[in-house]
Symmetry: none
Subunit: 86 residues, 4 copies
DNA sequence: CAAGAATTATGAACCC
DNA sequence: GGGTTCATAATTCTTG
């Protein structure tokens, strides 16, 4: 099986390509982990400042969702809720 | 807006129909929840009998798949691992 | 390794016990699948009755959540939101 | 309630402190989202290079675990499968 | 069949 | 530190 690239086949697999893909994923996941730790630190700070962490999380969630809920289906949702007396 | 059925429109919505649909869904979801709880109990039983729950889950998953498919994925995994020298 | 029960060890594993556990899980999962299919049918019915399925799902979700949101932390959440001008 | 800082209380809440906390979290979460998108892109690249994405994920997961742990779980899986005659 | 939503499973964090 | 809840990851299903 002749190859134009330098990528060595291991059992028909483009090993270098696979390795590159996996290492890039791993690098990005490390960065992601690091950010997650930073976020955790801030929640810890919030806690020691006397805030209720669970509620802070809820606020963050709400602020993420609210713009999304200003959408076309709001009207229908309203309609259905009214039909059900909710 | 004349209706043949007795279903009262609320803002153009066939309220009774909608209500029926939603209540049937809710009933079925309750049953589903109950089954999910039963399953959880069995996993707990497995754990206290000394089985590794994670591996038991894996077995259940494997048995759901076609043997040929299982074989295929295991072969690929092997191949990739070898390509990476794992 | 003497055993009081008739359970045959296979490599130190209580095979019958494991089999029983797995088969019970599989049976319950089948029932669960069947319920899921029933639910799917109702959504299909809803669709052909002219309802917007996505919104119906949202209603079902809301009705599930709303009782849960009548909880102790509502007050705090309100407070935080007001502090943020939300 | 005397305050040393300039932070204005809103209903007894240190509003500026809370706002700072929440905005920092939001900034970090945006970065996190961006990394998650990058990772998704790489999996897409893997797919179009002909790799089986599900198996690639499995490889990434395996490399995160300790080799001893991987070995242990593989052994158990084997054991359970044999006990079930799979 | 690709994109997105929804369900399920795994992993982390918190409380007791 | 163990168990339970909460959060994230991953798979599956649905829809355009």
């Amino acid at each position: 099986m002749a190859e134009q690239s330098d990528d060595k086949d291991v059992g028909g697999i483009a090993a270098d390509r696979l390795r590159s893909i996996i290492e890039r994923i791993e690098r990005l996941e490390e960065e992601r982990k690091s950010l997650a730790d930073d976020i955790k630190d801030i929640y810890a700070e919030a806690k020691s400042a006397g805030f209720d962490v669970k509620v802070v999380r809820q606020v963050v969630r709400l602020r993420k969702q609210e713009p999304a809920e200003v959408e076309e289906q709001e009207t229908l949702l309203d309609l259905y809720r009214r039909a059900l007396g909710m």
